[in-house]
Symmetry: D2
Subunit: 381 residues, 4 copies
């Protein structure tokens, strides 16, 4: 039921989100939404525009006296630069963007396509994802992220075992927890900027505290892994998604892949005590959460805009021309990881609310506790 | 509008699919559906059950005198072994399957969970996907696949440039086009079976002839890449999905990633002549097809059932017990690649029909031709 | 989540339904489904075909050992007459049917249109609705119906206050509880048949025991009244839908319309004791149930096929011709009221499950009881 | 694909709408949206609030230089009175509103419920409906309305045969075309106000120029009549919906109901010349448009707020108290008819775009013309 609609252009009045299905009675921390928006704008390798904009959310609906009302939550993030009718038309579509394909899909001028296809739209998803994150948080679920690769530089450290272990990501200019890799990533970004290049990378999003039994195994589109993959792949510039071991797991023999089941109540309080010593599945088996951390990774392509413009064609003359350079980030992987948190939080909150049903937060909290109790896990049961 | 509902259990009467939104007037080749079902059952590394079942589709609705009527197409694939009420209960959930998490999600006995979560369900998706494939085929679009990795053995050959280049996959026991890799894969499977092991792998699905402009850039969930990723990840045992360069692309600099645009009518007849010399994007930019082949890859984990059972817990006693061994395939990657074709065909047909609207095949064919003509691409235009 | 897909033609192998979202653990009474199918086939005024068919449901999925598994429930009702490829083509579309408009919508031959647009499809909805009814029944909710008008003959009795009061409808040849009206309806049908005429009418469907708080007021499409209206209007030949006082209420002054609120625990055990002495709203206020019986009425047009064929045009020659007479019922209002029960039960079960969330029947029963407890209604609370 | 999300409260910053699926290239007349909003606010019998608010739409997304871009259109209508955090809590739920049932559904304070359940929300639907109306208008389709009953006063005139015939409704204080009835309605409203009463009524919405073949007969929820009924019933205070003859038709014999088919190209240019001399079906047969005007009527209950407050119960003390009087309209049927136009326009535009597919307005216009040409209707064809 948690459903999100977004609208808005890069140079329009702003970005708008309507999130319906938010239960009534959630004390909404607007500052936390703004902090998420701020994290989306930060990161080593961003260009000038991110500095001019300090995104702040305005709540247009669904909240009274700081609490959600159960009605759709409407959010707006205004654009600092909103001269939509004055921005120039574009005739040379940029490779790697929606420009040409989008124009061919809708017949709209290229300017219209890029205004909407811009990553600016992800501000709406981050704002809505922050609301979803606060729903999750009320149930003790935390969604965090880190960057594990930028260009050739990859983190070598293991995934932290707790959400707190991810906290340091906010302190790294590239949201990487491995200090050496972090330095290498920054150096790589400097070198790329110098060379007129851009870089992509890989980020990891992890949900901690997710109870067993979210998602579905019986209807393909309702599988949690399918929904996570769809949500992550819908982030601009994402070209790959993994859950758990992902592609590396395809090369392992079965005996080194699967997570054997043991009973240990303390180790799996949200899975009825059915614990795992490993988590190669990334917390999802058969489309359903198993109580282990939900671990996703996404691969981002390098930003398409380079100092040396890519070759394009003028759609009026059909003659070769260089593509427009619309912006100048060198690397946006840290920002994308914040968007990744948002979409994963949205999927998890949606799955949690499906499981719990509708009603106010107080009623849902009682259902959650009863659900956890029913998952099994005490010999007396 | 193309919407699929499936039902059925592994040991029930059969697997059922209702596919609505199929245009009227498509001459449906039932034999081709059966061949797709047969390809799903084949492949080196499958166990005994695949031999006893020779899947054949029965059409229960939506077809008269060999042509679709526009009404929902209902398909059934009967099970050879349909003693559902007699199969034993299970109390030791199998790691790597939905058994435990599914039981915790629905409260159903483990037997109920595994009956539905079984890969047997994919017979419905293959049958429906074969219908989608015939819709695509009427518009000159072909969806093909090959296996590129099984365990440690990976194909070294380049992706063929035409659908015909994939035809040999059906002749390989592992659906691999690289003869040396094919042999290595078979040897790997033999060794794994010998060792009581199982293997996963990676397959590639490619859509050829896809016109530019399918999908969307303005609504995240309608992006074609998001839908492809969701569909592929919904196949049992898939843990990773890539489009185009995917994860490898995350390590490349921008100048070696993006597909520059040139004008060459002959090279891009379904993209208005806006051609690319490379296809690192895998045919999707900004969530929309760009006229190049749509290239996806999916990573499958090794099958969870080993000769040496994995450790589990009896859900009644909470004592450690070995997990049940329900079946005995060693590797199902070739079969999964056939399922991959089906789900990719379903997503592409859905996106194509969204673009073309509703109406009979004849009307849609006229719209398709006009659409191709409008994509641009001749200097005279 | 309760979602229904149906397929099948009037002269095909049968009618198929896939109902997903049915909770696990419901003891499914197959006989009760068959009885609902039988009631759909009965009623004074039906033609010969209803006699040759004795519909029985086959369960193809979602049930093991008599209990739902949580997986989609697949049902099939076979057709006695299934020579689909042999039925003749039709060129003179029948007024009042989908024949012409459907042909113009899809390009399909008229025969294809009428095969699917046939009221035979409602067998699927009755079967699925019987499953929904059994879900409701497990929560003490009953959905019943009666016919209140056939042609000029209208029932004069008040709506019974309990579901038991509706039981006698099954004993009336026209499902009418008012004996005098019942006789007049039968006489009217006899006269109409004699005159080569057909008759429509009005039926009433009532949900008893529906707890307060189902539906939604914040999203228009999720309002319960909107969903009831859509579902009832989707039954073939229905041209009007009312809830509570409906059209008559439009003529009343406000002081005689609204249902004042009193507190009386015994009178409103499923609404927290917030009771009403009247029920002009028909149990729905602001799109949400208020604990009073949910009362809907639907108007059915007379069956379009008359002994004297209606004027039509041959779509090949464009010359006037009489329309085909495909069947010979005189009146199908009693049957439609059974379909009405099915669709109302489906909507109510869907709304109930949205409120309760997912999980097995046992977990949902506990949530239901807790929900009722939270509705308020005792001074101690 | 045309999908609407709305948000906003009666006393919040405003009402927000996101309408996705609007084709690119539509010249959007903002003034026309404002005029529709103004018409929603007018009408004899409205209270003070409608005077203080002069609704004007702000476009937040989806439009550049006066043309739709193909991206979601975001609209906002600000509230004049937006002190949401200062409005008082309410403890005595008003009969006839969502107050109590909504509170029981979501656990939200009654104030939160009524803020969202307020008819103020329909401003969003009117704004979005005006966009839908402009889409339709580009294809020569007009959606108009009139009031046919207020309380005991009913219009006696026949439905006009053209959209122009409805134009005078905007000149009537009650949107009624029959001058005598109009006067009687005003007098009735005066008397009701005097008596501390309120009145309901019936309005009619008609779509002219609708081509044959919109909607569907094969999937119940996609039938056009089902969607019209759901949309109209989702308007606050609507308790009944009819299409064509509706309830009156239930009393007619078949020979006086059905619309015989003749061939007359001039009479049915958008139905291939397959014309009808009557329109008892209201333009929809078997769930599909037949080229005749689409005729719907909806019954509105009297406004629940009276000068003499209705009896209620304090939800804290459970003691009897009078219900709050939140507003003071006597009759809102004229306003509801404007909302009715909006929702009918939205449904028709959605069905039209489903039929035509996606792409820019220019491409869709070409498809529309070709579609009309294919509907048949010339002897040469």
């Amino acid at each position: 039921m948690l459903e999100l609609a977004t609208a808005g252009e890069s140079h329009g009045p702003g970005i708008v989100a309507i999130l319906s299905g938010v239960p009534a009675g959630l004390a909404l921390d607007i500052g936390a939404i703004d902090r998420a928006l701020g994290r989306r704008q930060s990161g080593y390798g961003r260009g000038a525009r991110q500095q001019i904009e300090r995104d702040r959310v305005e709540v247009l609906g669904g909240v009274r006296k700081g609490r959600t009302t159960g009605a759709p939550v409407a959010l707006m993030v205004r654009n600092a630069d909103s001269r939509l009718d004055e921005v120039p038309e574009i005739h040379a579509p940029r490779p790697g963007h929606a420009d040409l394909a989008g124009h061919q899909a809708t017949g709209a001028p290229i300017r219209d396509v890029l205004e909407r296809a811009s990553a600016r739209e992800t501000a709406a998803r981050v704002a809505a994802g922050a609301v979803a994150g606060q729903i999750l948080s009320a149930f003790g679920i935390a969604v965090v992220s880190r960057v594990v690769r930028i260009g050739a530089a990859a983190a070598a450290d293991a995934m932290p075992a707790t959400p707190e272990g991810f906290a340091a990501a906010d302190g790294s200019p590239v949201r990487c927890l491995d200090a050496a890799a972090s330095a290498a990533m920054c150096a790589g970004i400097d070198a790329a900027r110098e060379a007129g290049e851009s870089l992509g990378g890989v980020f990891e999003v992890v949900g901690f505290g997710v109870p067993a039994g979210l998602g579905a195994y019986d209807v393909p589109a309702r599988r949690l892994d399918a929904r996570l993959a769809g949500a992550l792949m819908s982030i601009p510039a994402i070209k790959g998604v993994e859950i758990g071991e992902g592609f590396a797991g395809a090369a392992l023999p079965g005996s080194r892949f699967h997570d054997e089941i043991v009973h240990d109540h303390a180790a799996a309080p949200r899975a009825g005590g059915f614990a795992r010593r490993t988590n190669r599945a990334g917390g999802v088996e058969g489309g359903v959460t198993n109580g282990m951390p939900v671990v996703c990774r996404a691969a981002m392509k390098p930003i398409p805009t380079l100092t040396r413009p890519l070759g394009s064609v003028d759609i009026r003359t059909l003659k070769p021309v260089p593509a427009l350079k619309e912006r100048s980030d060198t690397c946006a992987v840290p920002a994308a990881s914040v968007v990744g948190e948002a979409v994963v939080a949205s999927v998890l909150a949606e799955a949690l609310l499906e499981r719990l049903g509708t009603g106010g937060m107080e009623e849902l909290a009682a259902r959650f506790d009863a659900m956890i109790g029913r998952l099994g896990g005490s010999p007396e049961k």
